[in-house]
Every structure is written in C-alpha cells, then in structure tokens.
C-alpha cells in the first residue's frame, strides 16, 4: 500500500513541487496551505508522515506539531524550514527530523524514506 504524506507550506509553488516530486516517488501526497487545513485534514485522515513548514501565516509549524503530537504522540513529523535558527527552540526537538529547505529535495526524500522504514 502507498504511504501517505501530508505537506504543509504557505507557498503555492512549493506545494506544487512537493505534490509532483513525491507522487513521482510513489507516495500518496496531500498538501495544506496553513495550520487550520493541516489540523482539519488530520481530523479526517491518517498520514504516515507530516511535513511542516515553520513560518506560515497564523499558527506556525512548531505550534501545529505540538497540537498534532498531543493528539497522537506517535505521529511522525518532519519540520522543513528555510531557517536553521528554530533549532534553538526546544519544541522543535520533538520532531523526527528538522530539514533546512533546499531546491534540491534529496535530503528531504532520503530522510522521509528513512523515517518510514523505521
């Protein structure tokens, strides 16, 4: 069965990129543009892994992760940000991985593969 991924990012281009690239890798991919959409989707569906951008309008990715983990402590979460400074925030340590955004998706792909194989 295909593994299900949920990507949250406020940039439409990136959502499109994730959709295309990860569908191409054989995953079932859904995208969300903000925290509200992520949480709504998680109410209805289950995902093997959720990838969250940190800086989004409204609730940021770290807060979303806190909400996700308090509802389901086993949910796998990857934080995916253009900034490394958030690594100083202790709550980001609760993520299964923290990936610095890059045009090259190799690191993100490898990490997701590794986490899903665990």
């Amino acid at each position: 069965m295909k593994k299900r991924l949920l990507f949250a990012d406020d940039e439409q281009n990136l959502r499109f990129l994730y959709q295309t690239e990860f569908s191409g890798e054989g995953y079932e991919v859904e995208v969300a543009q903000d925290a509200t959409e992520v949480l709504a989707k998680l109410e209805k569906n289950t995902y093997d892994l959720v990838v969250l951008d940190i800086q989004m309008p409204g609730m940021n990715g770290i807060e979303v992760m806190e909400k996700i983990l308090s509802a389901n402590k086993r949910q796998k979460v990857v934080l995916n940000s253009a900034y490394s400074v958030y690594k100083d925030n202790f709550m980001t340590w609760a993520a299964d991985a923290y990936i610095i955004k890059s045009a090259d998706l190799t690191e993100l792909k490898d990490k997701i593969k590794e986490l899903l194989e665990q």
Binding site: L69, F90, W93
Partner: protein, 415 residues
C-alpha cells in the same frame, strides 16, 4: 545564558495527608508551628545562594500562593532573582500533570525562555537541609549528564523508594523503583541509597529525555521512567551522597508521606535534642510570620490546679495558655488553651481553641476548631472513632473548621 534554573515541583495533591490537604496543597501544610512544608526547600535554595526559582503548582494552590506572596517575595527581578509560581499552562494537553516528568515537560517553555545550562529539579514537600552548591560542584566534577541526590536509608526501609546501585565513584549502575531486594551501597551492606527526588540535569539532555518520554505511554515519572530508561541506555548518571547541613550525627531527610510520619516529624521537634535543628543560625529556615503578640501563659493558682503551663513544646506567637497545661505539643499562632484543659503530644493549628477541662492526647487539630469545654479527644478511642478518623499509628485527626459543639436544640426525628 543562565548557569542554572531551579524548578520546584509543588503540585502534589498529598492524598495521604488528607484531610490536612483538603483545602491546601501539600507544600502549604503547616509544619513545626510557624512553617509550611515548602519553607524547607525554599530555605535550602536561599541558603545555597540559588535565586532563580520557578515553583510549578497545581491543586488547591490558594494557600500556597498567599504564603509565597507574603513570605517569599523579596527576590529582586531587577537583579535577575525570582521565585515565581507557575500554574499549569495546558500548553499541549488539557489535563492535570500526569507525573513528575510531565510536570516539567509541560513547562518546557520556561527552559526555552531562560536557556539555563543546567536545571535543578526539587520537590516542594520534603523536609531536610542541603547545600545544593555541593551537589552542583559534584555534578560538574563528575561530568555527569544527570546527578541524583541520594539519602542513605537502612536497606529494610528502602523497598518503598527509588533505589540506586552505584560503583565506587558513585556512578549509578542501576535505578530501581520500589525493588523487593534493594541494592546496598559499596562497603555498607545494610544501607541503601534512595533517590531524594532532587536532580540536576544538563538542559539539552533533560529536554531530549522529556520529549522522548512524552512520546511513550509511560507514567511520565522521573523515578519510574526517565531515570531507569536512561540507565538502560548506559547514560552517565551519578548519585550524589546527601550531605546534611543539619550539624547532627544522623542525616535528616523526610518525605512527609503520611499523617503518622507528619505527626512523628513534628514530635521530633519538641524532643530535647531533635534530629532536625530549627535553631541553627548558620542555616535559618525562613517563613512568613504575621504580626503576633508574644505567646503568653496566665494563672498560677496552684491550689486549684489552675496553672498556665507549657512543657517540652513549641508555642507560636499569639498563643495564650490560660490556666491549662500543654505538654509535648506544637502550637501554631493564635491557639488558646483554657483553664484546667490538658493537651499532650498534639499538634494544634492556627486559631484552635481548647475549652475548659477539655483533654487532648495524640491528636492533630486543624485550623480554627473550637473544642468545647470538657470535650475529650484521643482519650477514648471508641468515642473518637464515631466522630474522627484515626491513623494506623493511633493519632486522632480533627479537620479544619469542624464543629464540635452540640447543636443548641436536639434534633428530633419524627416517625
């Protein structure tokens, strides 16, 4: 960056001290006449030069908050000093703290804000004198990730506690919660090292362990989960052998776990040479004291045996022993003992009044109880048991505000 932040867990419900904990959290329970249990830990901090303290509170904290506000608000934020109490924030979960580790995990934002290098975790309901600086030095010298303060307890008493097995350098090799056969310390096969619930963690390690534990279905408790799990991964944990600042032969550390041990610990204070010394000017215990007139005894009418006397007792300000006799007892402020009454081996909390000819033995009487004239407590167990709860050790407990006067009119029940 702050070198160390202190977190005191003051959220225990203290069910085994019920009814003393009916209206107040365990750390706010009165002890030794004028003190609250929390005063001992806070005084240790003050005397150890520790001045960055958060108190994590939870149940029934009104009395505790009031005590902190009145007695412990002298630290200066402008100098980077503080004692602040933090109620549950419900940041991640809408429920009370599940265990000790959950209590710290739910307050991880405090660590985020202060970014301390190390965190000293204390419990707000123990009675002991300890210089935490010695432990900090030990933590530094050993290069431990976690240091656990350890009290030396006779092996036979250790099986109800968190017990550590250590090597010669005091590195912990095993951490066992309530073991049936407790390990003993090197060279002393009758003594076990038990955890005092006092921990120093390097902050990054603490955060990682709390997060790891939060993702499991454990009891989220340091003694039951975090420390044993770390031991299983061969982490560097050391036991710090507790050095008592009490200047007594026996080391003193009490977790006031039951009404009987509460009564005994108080009774120790009135003995000639108590195990726990309140009179040490080098290690003073601070508390909040209101404006009380001096304690007073009145009447020396020996012919009629109407003599106000106090023997082997602690008597707080505002008390009047008016022609009654008090022996081996602890009196909080504003207690009144009237003529011909006798009080022995008892703890009378603030505002208690003992009527004429009343007799009190081996009792704990909580705040503002008026004992009527000729009333007897602790003398006749068959009668007592109809009105009061009696501990396994035979101490009669009178909860605060209980009305002991007979109703003015007898209640007539018609068929």
């Amino acid at each position: 960056m702050m070198p160390m932040l202190t977190l005191i867990m003051a959220g225990g419900r203290g069910e085994r001290l019920y009814p003393l904990t009916r209206d107040r959290a365990k750390p706010a329970v009165s002890f030794g006449g004028i003190y609250r249990i929390i005063d001992f830990t806070l005084s240790n901090c003050l005397n150890s030069g520790i001045r960055q303290i958060y108190l994590l509170t939870q149940y029934s904290n009104v009395s505790l908050e009031r005590h902190l506000k009145l007695g412990w608000n002298f630290f200066n934020r402008e100098l980077g000093e503080f004692i602040e109490s933090i109620p549950p924030q419900y940041r991640t979960e809408n429920q009370w703290y599940v265990g000790t580790a959950d209590c710290i995990f739910q307050n991880i934002n405090l660590l985020q804000r202060e970014k301390p290098e190390r965190v000293l975790i204390l419990s707000g309901d123990h009675v002991y004198k300890m210089d935490y600086q010695d432990m900090i030095k030990f933590h530094h010298d050993t290069g431990a990730e976690v240091t656990v303060a350890a009290a030396e307890i006779p092996k036979r008493q250790a099986s109800q506690m968190g017990v550590m097995a250590v090597d010669k350098t005091f590195r912990i090799s095993e951490f066992l919660e309530k073991p049936t056969d407790p390990p003993t310390m090197p060279g002393r096969d009758d003594v076990s090292l038990v955890s005092m619930g006092v921990y120093i963690f390097n902050t990054p390690k603490l955060v990682r362990e709390l997060i790891r534990d939060s993702k499991t279905n454990s009891e989220h408790d340091f003694g039951k989960n975090i420390l044993p799990d770390m031991m299983a991964r061969k982490e560097k944990l050391f036991a710090y052998p507790f050095k008592d600042k009490n200047q007594k032969k026996a080391k003193y550390w009490r977790d006031i776990g039951s009404l009987d041990s509460y009564w005994e610990a108080n009774m120790d204070l009135v003995s000639v040479n108590p195990d726990f010394n309140l009179y040490d000017q080098e290690w003073q215990i601070r508390t909040y004291q209101g404006q009380y007139p001096p304690a007073k005894t009145v009447f020396v009418n020996e012919k009629e045996a109407r003599v106000g006397q106090v023997l082997d007792s602690l008597v707080s300000g505002g008390c009047v022993i008016s022609g009654g006799r008090v022996e081996k007892s602890i009196l909080s402020p504003w207690v009144r003992v009237n003529s011909y009454a006798r009080v022995e081996e008892s703890i009378l909390m603030e505002g208690v009044e003992i009527g004429r000819h009343a007799r009190i033995r081996r009792a704990i009487i909580d705040e503002n109880v008026k004992v009527p004239a000729r009333f007897q407590i602790g003398i006749n167990p068959e009668e007592d048991v109809k009105l009061f709860s009696i501990t396994p050790g035979g101490i009669t407990i009178v909860p605060s505000g209980m009305i002991l006067e007979k109703p003015a009119q007898e209640l007539i029940i018609k068929n």
